[in-house]
């Protein structure tokens, strides 16, 4: 195992003009030298091994995209060192590009008017993919997804899901060492999300490709990532196993119940029955926050079922936002 990405004390600052208000302010701005420095990424270090799938999480504006742009060579770090498969990305942008694949949100990188197969042929040329590898890759794709109906369809006529799928396949086509996926499942329906996750998983296993995945969807993280890196306001908050994170926070699950009768009154009664758990209620659900290290959800459910008629239930995992909030409030590691 060797690390394909090494990031050491990387910081990225942007110079932003302090804007004034109104027309007069705009005119003053033209001549202004009044800049402030915004630190988008603040002293981040990490190493990623070949074949890992890393979930890169954080709220909007946390600095995720900036980090990815630095790893892909689009941005130069203000200070610190980045090595991506042995290259300094910003200095060797084209050499770096040969080693990586990128899918950036909903911005398709395929030729809009061309049928997919023609786009892939052009990519074969651009990345100098040998014939045998190209054929092998398409064979692999055929075994993973229903490729035929897509191949002869122009990209502009595709649905969002089909386009995302095509873009992900395009990013893996030249068998890169690392693939960056920036919110690949955004805006997709549940079945398409599942399809995309299965595909990413399969490609990672088959080709041993390192995947850096940014997402807001904890479902993506649960399905794919063993390791999670969380950043917020440019600072790294967490870098460890998903399991470890769950040990801290994920041991809490919320059991949501719908019963007959008045929720508020019943919730109060349940709270008395289960003094060590936290019960709350709104018009739709009664929520029981279960600490799984102390009580099992099943036992709680069984206990409650003896006394109440439960019409409906849901089990809720903790969300990224909640995790970040908890890290702030309680700290971790």
């Amino acid at each position: 195992m060797s690390s394909v990405i090494e990031i050491k004390n990387v910081t990225k600052e942007f110079k932003v003009l302090n804007r004034r208000e109104g027309l007069k302010g705009s005119i003053q701005d033209l001549f202004s030298r009044d800049y402030k420095i915004v630190r988008a990424v603040d002293n981040i270090s990490m190493q990623v091994q070949q074949g890992e799938i890393v979930g890169y999480l954080g709220p909007n504006g946390a600095g995720k995209s900036t980090t990815i742009k630095m790893m892909t060579g689009v941005l130069e770090p203000t200070s610190g060192e980045i090595l991506v498969s042995g290259n300094v990305p910003y200095e060797n942008r084209t050499r770096n590009a040969q080693q990586i694949g990128v899918v950036f949100g909903q911005r398709s990188q395929l030729w809009w008017a061309l049928p997919l197969i023609e786009s892939y042929r052009l990519l074969k040329e651009i990345y100098c993919i040998p014939d045998a590898d190209y054929t092998h890759m398409l064979e692999l794709y055929r075994s993973l997804v229903d490729l035929e109906p897509l191949l002869h369809k122009p990209v502009r006529q595709m649905s969002l899901g089909q386009r995302t799928l095509s873009d992900i396949l395009a990013a893996f086509l030249h068998n890169p060492k690392i693939v960056f996926l920036d919110e690949p499942t955004i805006g997709l329906d549940v079945s398409m999300k599942a399809k995309i996750r299965t595909l990413i998983q399969a490609l990672n296993q088959e080709k041993h490709t390192t995947v850096i995945l940014t997402t807001h969807d904890m479902g993506d993280v649960d399905a794919l990532c063993r390791r999670v890196v969380i950043i917020d306001k440019g600072k790294m908050l967490y870098d460890n196993d998903m399991e470890h994170l769950k040990g801290f926070f994920g041991s809490y699950r919320t059991l949501k119940l719908r019963t007959d009768g008045d929720h508020a009154a019943q919730a109060a009664a349940m709270q008395k029955m289960l003094p060590e758990l936290k019960v709350s209620a709104d018009t739709e659900w009664i929520s029981v926050l279960v600490d799984e290290s102390r009580a099992h959800v099943i036992d709680v459910l069984a206990q409650l079922q003896k006394q109440y008629t439960i019409r409906d239930m849901q089990l809720q995992e903790i969300s990224t936002e909640e995790i970040i909030k908890k890290i702030y409030e309680e700290g971790v590691q």
């Binding site: 689009v74 941005l75 084209t94 911005r107 990188q109 030729w111 008017a113 040329e125 651009i126």
Partner: protein, 266 residues
Amino acid sequence: MKHTLGFYLRLYGMILAQDLKSKMSYRADFIISTVGMIATNVAGFVSFWILFRNFPSIGGWGYYEILFLYGFSLVSLTPVQCLFDNNWSLRQYVYSGDFIKYCFRPVNLFFYYQSEVFDIKGLGQLAFGIAMIVYAWGKLGLAVTVLAVVKLLVFLLTASLVMIALQNAAAATCFWIQNSFYVLDFVTRFKDYARYPVTIFSPVFRFVFTFLMPIAFIAYYPSLVILRPDEVPLLSWLSPVIGVVFFFLSYRFWMYGAMKYSGTGS
């Protein structure tokens, strides 16, 4: 990884072939733009012809000489029209942040960006231009020698670089300013003056068109090598160098802007 010129030519050929195929699939669009292009060229020629019905010569230049100049400018303005049309979309890509998608490929960024669009409308202009040059050449009684044809081709090719350079530089301003459309539009309007001998303008404009906005190198100076072989000024012989140098500088400027570009949003 360094790619050879052969690699880029082959890749360009492939992209071009694909692009033409997909353009033909929009048949109505294809036919309408072809008709529009012919109409534009005919209208340009008619106004030129009417002008010469009233003035037998302009600044000591006869009808066929001006016709040659006109043809020369049409041909040397074809590459900028056909091959570099994507410059017009640059500011939208930069503004929306979509420009970033061009940054992830292991090929030259400028090449990759420009290769995306081939504007087929320029080909009509090319045909008109060639016809005018051939016709005027015959009427002027210029000798047809291998040397003359080679000279013509070399000077046409290098002259075409001048307008490409101006357009690249104008388009690249969008990496710094938001309303770069006006810069690009402003520069493009000057190309219509390229078809006249620079000597008919006042000294101030002559200076501007030669040294500041060097459109006199699109047709006037290089044409003199063919039209007036006995009295070729130094600037004419220099015009190939000027074309190449200007193109190179504009390319560096464009790339400098693109490298500075950091993308907006996620």
